[in-house]
């Protein structure tokens, strides 16, 4: 991130000129960027083309409830694979904006399910993580990261991807941040962007 320090010594107005130029361009770009998305314009085909350009894949058309159910059931299976007993947080999977393509939340969405398991009654956090390491590949998931987070606590983190459904799983074993705080395993299940079926507006409801 560092620029060669010599170039940026405070010299005089000259150095400022190109910088001002770039800033001007950046300001114009930023204004255009803020002017709103063009998601609602164009045919379905055009929107899908545009989405593919941004995301690198064409979002599947998927019924929202089905997409949420799918994520919920992934979460259930992951919980089973941990083979521990304890308390689990309540909220279920939810649909959110696919920000990069459709910040106005008119046609495209992602499904995300964050949850944690804590207050273990049977089994340990260590076992839970090991069970996942073993079971995920067996069930067809590809582990893309398995190691400590770059924090002082260096908590273990496992990231895995499902190559067919393209869901991402992020598991972090968070030791107590401070005395008195709970130890927990935090799980995030994320889907890719989907497109809502015709006539359905992901924002309403």
């Amino acid at each position: 991130m560092t620029q060669p320090a010599s170039r940026l010594k405070r010299r005089g107005a000259l150095w400022v000129v190109p910088l001002v130029g770039v800033v001007a361009v950046a300001t114009v770009w930023m204004t255009m960027h803020e002017a709103g998305s063009e998601t609602s314009s164009g045919s379905t085909g055009q929107q899908q083309e545009r989405a593919e350009g941004i995301l690198g894949y064409k979002p599947e058309v998927r019924d929202i409830a089905k997409a949420k159910d799918e994520v919920n059931s992934i979460s259930s299976r992951v919980l089973d694979w941990m083979k521990v007993r304890g308390s689990v947080t309540e909220p279920s999977a939810a649909a959110h904006k696919c920000e990069a393509v459709d910040p106005d939340f008119t046609k495209y969405y992602v499904v995300n399910h964050p949850w944690s398991v804590y207050d273990l009654k049977k089994g340990s956090f260590d076992e839970a993580m090991d069970n996942l390491r073993k079971t995920l590949p067996e069930k067809g998931w590809k582990i893309t990261k398995d190691g400590p987070m770059r924090t002082k606590d260096a908590d273990p983190e496992i990231v895995a991807v499902q190559p067919d459904s393209h869901h991402t799983l992020t598991v972090q074993w968070l030791k107590p941040a401070r005395p008195g705080r709970k130890e927990l395993i935090s799980v995030d299940v994320d889907s890719r962007c989907f497109r809502a079926p015709e006539g359905v507006d992901p924002y309403s409801g």
Binding site: K68, R85, T89, A94, K122
Partner: protein, 154 residues
């Protein structure tokens, strides 16, 4: 948005049912089967509408209590050469009326909230219209110009 997320506090700490030892413990009863996060389900919406309704109608009691403390100015304050005396009388009258109307508004709104939780309306659109219609009931009247912009006696 098509989701319901209860309080973020619930990583730990949401008072839940006593832990059972069959494993998974959730603060609420989810939808179906072996899936602890079965669909959103319509989870007792009626209860929420009813709670809102009773919240609103409880305010009638508060209004009543306040009104019991509001008295018209007594005889001792009535004199032709004490201008505030008659003004205080007018104040009392207008505010009694106002609070009376507000109390009525509570009744109407509470009633509509209860209906929203029951079977009274066919669908969400009808429910929505029922509340939107209340705007017509309470339109602004240019009428009184109650602020007394006449500046009063001086």
């Amino acid at each position: 948005m098509a989701h319901r997320r209860s309080s973020i506090y619930d990583v730990i700490g949401a008072p839940g049912p006593s832990p059972d030892d069959t494993g998974l413990q959730l603060a609420s009863q989810g939808g179906g089967g072996d899936d602890p996060w079965g669909g959103d389900g319509v989870k007792s919406d009626k209860k929420s509408w009813d709670n809102a309704s009773s919240g609103v109608s409880s305010l009638k009691e508060s209004i009543g209590k306040a009104r019991s403390k509001m008295h018209a100015p007594g005889k001792g304050l009535k004199a032709d050469d004490f201008e505030c005396g008659s003004v205080l009388g007018e104040l009392h009258t207008t505010w009694e009326e106002y609070l009376d109307k507000v109390s009525g508004r509570c009744t109407t709104l509470a009633d509509r909230l209860t209906k929203a939780g029951g079977d009274h309306y066919k669908n969400d659109q009808e429910r929505k219209a029922a509340f939107a219609k209340l705007n017509d009931k309470y339109k602004d009247t240019p009428g009184r110009g109650s602020k007394g912009h006449d500046g009063g006696g001086r």
